[in-house]
Subunit: 301 residues, 2 copies
């Protein structure tokens, strides 16, 4: 007999909608995914999409708590869940959870976080706060690689500060729309990744070392199959150089990533001689929603 | 009576062909320009394009020296003029000038330059070497802003070393193909440029501070009309921060730029408190070709 479902976890981002039926231990009992990210939902269409997605589970298991996180809580989503400001504890996050009117289930939305660095530059996240809650770190740094990679400082269990890097988006824009991309050849050779990592620690910065890929191919120093991995190594290396230089707490570095991101960041930190612990994004997402739900229900009780 | 023509100066780049009839003092007596860059010339078509372009001048003035510089000397151009290696003097450049077979005129091609930095990363230029020759600096730094901006170290009259920055190409790729560009509004407000300059000196590097444009607009800190100029200021500021940190000779900094580039770089250096001398790219290009021609004819004599 399978364990009883405790929660429906919904990760509703810009391009994808994922829903998971989850036990109180965080086991996934059932799941579904579709290309119904918030950009694909017509105005006013969010309740219908969610109803259709959850119908089989609600029919079978009755009124379950539904916890949503991600861009569904943004200005372009279903309901805007105002950002909570850092520093923020798990209780602060729970206190800002937004109740979403919906027939047949208690639907809630986890708010994103905002932080303003000492120079005055603001930063925002939506979705990562849930993974952070799931890591359950007391003091240290959490890195969430991606399109807009984030380095999050945790002090005494609170999310203290964070910094975003456009690593993934720079990679796509530069490979797709500069002279670098026109030199890239398939199949990719991972040796280029380490070359890019090494370049990220040399002089001149990103716009100089990126040009190095072009000149190296031109002069026969580098095969075209290195170009894509080189750019990836350069950008990830640059993120790590800048991330390590931030004002960060002592304590371990936890990287929340799987697949190509997980392999690349693990390799990069290894080459840089910095030990990290790698955690699965799905596990931490589910654990985070369970923890936030516990706090929300505790508040209500 | 107008002065006698001394030279036909040809700036033949990737997208444009420009030719100027020039006096020995560097005055432009006549000129023509067309969208007949090397990418628009069919295989084997270079002699015909040049003949058609120069015909009126050659008919009227007879056999004039023609000096070409730019991508016309690259692998995808008319004839590949092998790169000269730095350090390179004006005499070294003149010795590597390539004679191009052509009926009715002495056509020559100025070679590009290559340099390998201490870390082993190679760098290349084509066209800038001619402007550098035209500046005639003894010791100091020359900056040539553009798609692939370059910082050139001059020591005792020789081109000693140089470093490229993909400033212009990053700007186009990021503004055209990331979330930053989707937030940009017209008409541009130049106040954003200074904000980007300030951001280039703050923590986190380019991929973090670029994200600052997105979050600042999202949180109402910055109007959309600042976004384009902010990105420009951030990239130019980042180039200058990295350029000033290079191992450079003492002596003045000369910036070879006009138009928007000239205004932006002059403003950036002013904000950074670094005095520079601004020179016109066309004047320096013509002066460079005249100087190199003098050396070439001196060698032949």
């Amino acid at each position: 007999m399978s364990p009883a479902p405790r929660l429906i976890a919904v990760d509703w981002g810009t391009s994808r909608l994922r829903a998971m039926l989850v036990s109180s231990e965080g086991a996934i009992l059932d799941q579904t995914a579709a290309d119904e990210g918030i950009m694909a939902v017509p105005p006013g269409g969010f309740p219908d999409v969610l109803r259709r997605t959850l119908a089989p589970w609600l029919e079978r298991h009755g009124r379950l708590p539904v916890m949503m996180a991600g861009m569904v809580g943004s200005r372009n989503g279903w309901i805007e869940a105002p950002y909570a400001a850092c520093p923020a504890s798990l209780d602060d996050l729970a206190a800002r959870v937004v109740h979403v009117p919906f027939d047949g289930a208690d639907v809630r939305l986890v708010p994103g976080l905002t932080w303003r660095d000492p120079g005055g530059t603001p930063d925002v996240m939506r979705g990562e706060e849930t993974k952070i809650a799931g890591v359950g770190l007391a003091t240290g740094t959490i890195v969430t690689p991606g399109t807009h990679s984030k380095w999050i400082s945790i002090r005494e269990g609170r999310i203290d500060a964070f910094v975003s890097f456009m690593t993934g988006e720079f990679y796509a824009a530069l490979l797709g729309h500069t002279i670098i991309g026109r030199l890239a050849e398939a199949p990719e050779d991972p040796a280029g990744f380490d070359a890019g990592l090494a370049a990220s620690r040399r002089h001149g910065g990103l716009t100089h070392q990126a040009f190095g890929a072009r000149t190296s191919v031109l002069l026969g120093d580098m095969p075209g199959t290195w170009v894509g991995p080189y750019l990836s190594g350069l950008l990830i290396g640059s993120e790590i150089v800048n991330g390590l230089a931030l004002d960060r707490p002592a304590g371990e570095i936890v990287v929340v990533a799987d697949g190509v991101f997980g392999r690349n960041y693990a390799r990069a930190f290894e080459v840089f001689g910095v030990p990290v612990r790698l955690l699965d994004p799905e596990d931490t997402f589910i654990a985070g929603l369970l923890r936030i739900l516990e706090r929300v229900e505790g508040r209500r009780a």
